[in-house]
C-alpha cells in the first residue's frame, strides 16, 4: 500500500454533551477519496481541522508523505500555512473584498506558474463569474470558487467539510462531478466529511464511520452501509401517514420515499403509533413489520 497519510490522534472534544475524547488511528493511501460519516458531535470537523493544523491535539502523530506534521512526543508542529493541505470550509470562507478571480489569485504562491488560475476557472466553469464578488454568487457558485481556490496551491491532501450540504439535489450532483474531476486531475488525496449516503457511494473509495469520537467501522461504502447482507432483514425508513382500525388488526400506511406501504399490525402496536411518526419497516419472511426508531439501537443514523 502506498500510504500518504498516517494519523494517530487523541483530543478532548468540548461538546454540548460534555467532554469526550476523539481517539482515532488510520492510514490513507495516496490518491484515495475517504469519506468521514457520523452523527453531529462525532468529531468529524475537528478531525479535518486537526489535519489542516487549525486545531491542536492532546497527543499523537500525524505525517503526510513521510513528513511529520505533528508529533507530540517529538514536539513537532508544522503550522497550517506550511502543510500541503487545501481545505474547503463549511461556510466557504471566500474573501468578501476580492472577486472570484482575485480569490483564486490570492492562493497562488509567489513565483508559481499563474496558468493554473485560468485552468481552474475553466475546470470549475467560472468564466462568466470572474469579476463577481462572493456576495453576488449562489451557494453552488461559491462552492466552486472555494474548491478551486483550495486547489490553486496544488495541495497533496484536500479536506472538504460537508461542502455540499446546503445545496439542492441537482446542484449537488453537478458539484460532485466537479469534485471528482478535480480529485483526479490534480492527483489529490481527499478526505470528505459527509452526511449523505448517495454522495458517499458516488464519490468515496472508503468510509470511516465515526461515533462519539471513535471509529466504529471502516471499509468501502458497500461494506459499511450494506453489511446487513443476507442475515439481516432489509429495512426501510418511513413516516406513518394513516392508521386504519380494521377490527382485530390495524393497517398502518407508511410512506417510504414516494411509495405508500400498507403494514398490518396489532392493536397494541397501533396504540403506540401516531401520524407523522418516523418508523422503520423490516421484512421478515415477506411479512412487513414496523420497528420503532428508538428500538433501532443506533443501527441507522442516516
Amino acid at each position: 500500500m502506498n500510504t500518504y497519510l498516517s494519523c494517530r490522534i487523541r483530543k478532548t472534544l468540548h461538546t454540548a454533551a460534555g467532554h469526550r475524547p476523539l481517539e482515532l488511528s488510520f492510514e490513507l493511501e495516496r490518491g484515495k477519496l475517504l469519506a468521514i460519516h457520523g452523527p453531529s458531535g462525532a468529531g468529524k470537523t475537528t478531525l479535518l481541522r486537526i489535519l489542516a493544523g487549525l486545531t491542536d491535539i492532546d497527543e499523537g502523530h500525524i505525517a503526510g508523505n513521510g513528513v511529520i506534521w505533528r508529533d507530540t512526543t517529538l514536539r513537532v508542529n508544522i503550522p497550517a500555512r506550511k502543510r500541503p493541505v487545501g481545505m474547503v470550509f463549511q461556510d466557504f470562507a471566500l474573501f468578501p473584498h476580492l472577486n472570484v478571480r482575485e480569490n483564486l489569485e490570492f492562493a497562488l504562491p509567489s513565483g508559481e506558474d499563474p496558468r493554473v488560475i485560468p485552468e481552474l476557472i475553466g475546470l470549475m466553469e467560472l468564466q462568466s463569474l470572474q469579476q463577481a464578488r462572493p456576495a453576488q454568487l449562489s451557494g453552488g457558485q461559491q462552492q466552486r470558487v472555494a474548491l478551486g481556490r483550495a486547489i490553486v496551491r496544488k495541495p497533496e491532501l484536500l479536506l472538504l467539510d460537508e461542502p455540499l450540504s446546503a445545496l439542492d439535489d441537482e446542484m449537488r450532483s453537478r458539484l460532485q462531478d466537479y469534485l471528482l474531476r478535480a480529485h483526479r486531475q490534480f492527483h489529490l488525496t481527499t478526505i470528505l466529511v459527509s452526511h449523505s449516503l448517495p454522495e458517499i457511494f458516488r464519490l468515496a473509495d472508503e468510509v470511516i464511520r465515526l461515533d462519539k469520537g471513535r471509529s466504529i467501522g471502516r471499509g468501502t461504502p458497500a461494506e459499511i452501509f450494506l453489511q446487513q447482507g443476507s442475515t439481516d432483514p432489509f429495512m426501510l425508513a418511513g413516516e406513518v401517514i394513516d392508521i386504519l382500525d380494521e377490527g382485530p388488526s390495524f393497517t398502518i400506511s407508511v410512506l417510504c420515499a414516494n411509495t405508500l406501504l400498507p403494514v398490518k399490525t396489532t392493536p397494541g402496536q397501533a396504540a403506540r403509533l401516531r401520524k407523522g411518526q418516523k418508523v422503520m419497516i423490516s421484512s421478515e419472511s415477506f411479512e412487513p413489520r414496523i420497528l420503532f426508531m428508538n428500538e433501532m439501537s443506533n443501527k441507522f443514523d442516516i
Binding site: A52, L54, A80, V85, Q90, F92, A93, L94, F106
Partner: protein, 225 residues
C-alpha cells in the same frame, strides 16, 4: 485677527497622534481579538481606562513620569536626549495614550465580527499572520478602520486636560486650539473665543459626517456573503 497657530498645532498634533495610533493599534487590536492569553482582559481594561479617567489624572501622572526630577524623566533626558514635559513629542505621547481606546475599540469590534474561517482559510492557503492581517482582515474592516482614524483625530482635536497638564499652554509650542479658546475666555475676549469654538465645532461636525457617510458606503460595498 485670530491667531491661527493654535488651530494648525491642533491639526498637526491630531495627524501625528492618529498616524502613531494606527501603527500601534492595528497589531494590538489584532492580538486582542485573536489571542488566547489569559490576562488579555487586564490589557483591555488598561487600554479602555482613558474613556472613564479624568484627563487631568492621566496628564498628572505623565507629568510626574516625564519630569526630569524623576528617575524615568532623567533617564530619557540623559540617555535619549528627550525632554517630554512641555514639548510637542510629550503632547504626542500623552495624546496617543489618551486616544488609544478610540482607535483600538472600533478595530477590535471589527476584527471580532469577522468569521474566524477567513483567517483560517488564509492560513491553509499558505499565508502568514502579517500577510493575512494586511490583505484579508484590514480590507474587510475598512469601516471600523475609518471610524477609529476619525474618532482618534477628532478626539485629539478636542483634548484639553491632558495637553494642559503635560504641555503647559506655551504659545506656538504647546498651545492647541482648545487651550487658546480657554485663554480667550479667561481674558474676556469672547469674539476670538467664538472663532476658535466655531472652527472646532465645524471641523468636528464635518469629520463625523464624513465617517457616517463612508461607513454607510462600506457596509454596502462588501457585505459578507
Amino acid at each position: 485677527m485670530t491667531d491661527m497657530a493654535p488651530i494648525w498645532l491642533s491639526f498637526r498634533l491630531s495627524l501625528v497622534t492618529t498616524a502613531v495610533l494606527l501603527l500601534i493599534a492595528v497589531p494590538l487590536a489584532n492580538w486582542l481579538a485573536h489571542s488566547r492569553f489569559r490576562l488579555k482582559v487586564v490589557a483591555e481594561t488598561i487600554i479602555s481606562l482613558p474613556l472613564v479617567l479624568p484627563p487631568t489624572v492621566l496628564g498628572f501622572y505623565l507629568l510626574l513620569a516625564f519630569s526630569p526630577s524623576n528617575a524615568f524623566g532623567q533617564f530619557l533626558d540623559r540617555y535619549l536626549g528627550l525632554r517630554l514635559v512641555f514639548s510637542f513629542p510629550g503632547l504626542v505621547i500623552a495624546s496617543v495614550l489618551y486616544s488609544l481606546p478610540f482607535m483600538v475599540n472600533p478595530l477590535l469590534a471589527g476584527f471580532r465580527a469577522l468569521p474566524s474561517s477567513l483567517r483560517e482559510a488564509s492560513a491553509t492557503l499558505g499565508k502568514s499572520g502579517a500577510y493575512t492581517l494586511l490583505n484579508v482582515l484590514l480590507p474587510n474592516i475598512r469601516g471600523s478602520l475609518l471610524t477609529g482614524i476619525v474618532l482618534s483625530f477628532a478626539h485629539t482635536m478636542g483634548e484639553f486636560g491632558v495637553v494642559l497638564m503635560i504641555g503647559g499652554n506655551i504659545p506656538g509650542k504647546t498651545r492647541v486650539a482648545s487651550l487658546a479658546l480657554y485663554d480667550e475666555v479667561q481674558s474676556l475676549n469672547y469674539h476670538a473665543a467664538n472663532r476658535y469654538a466655531l472652527i472646532l465645532f465645524a471641523s468636528s461636525f464635518m469629520i463625523l459626517l464624513l465617517v457616517y457617510l463612508l461607513n454607510h458606503h462600506f457596509s454596502k460595498a462588501n457585505p459578507l456573503p
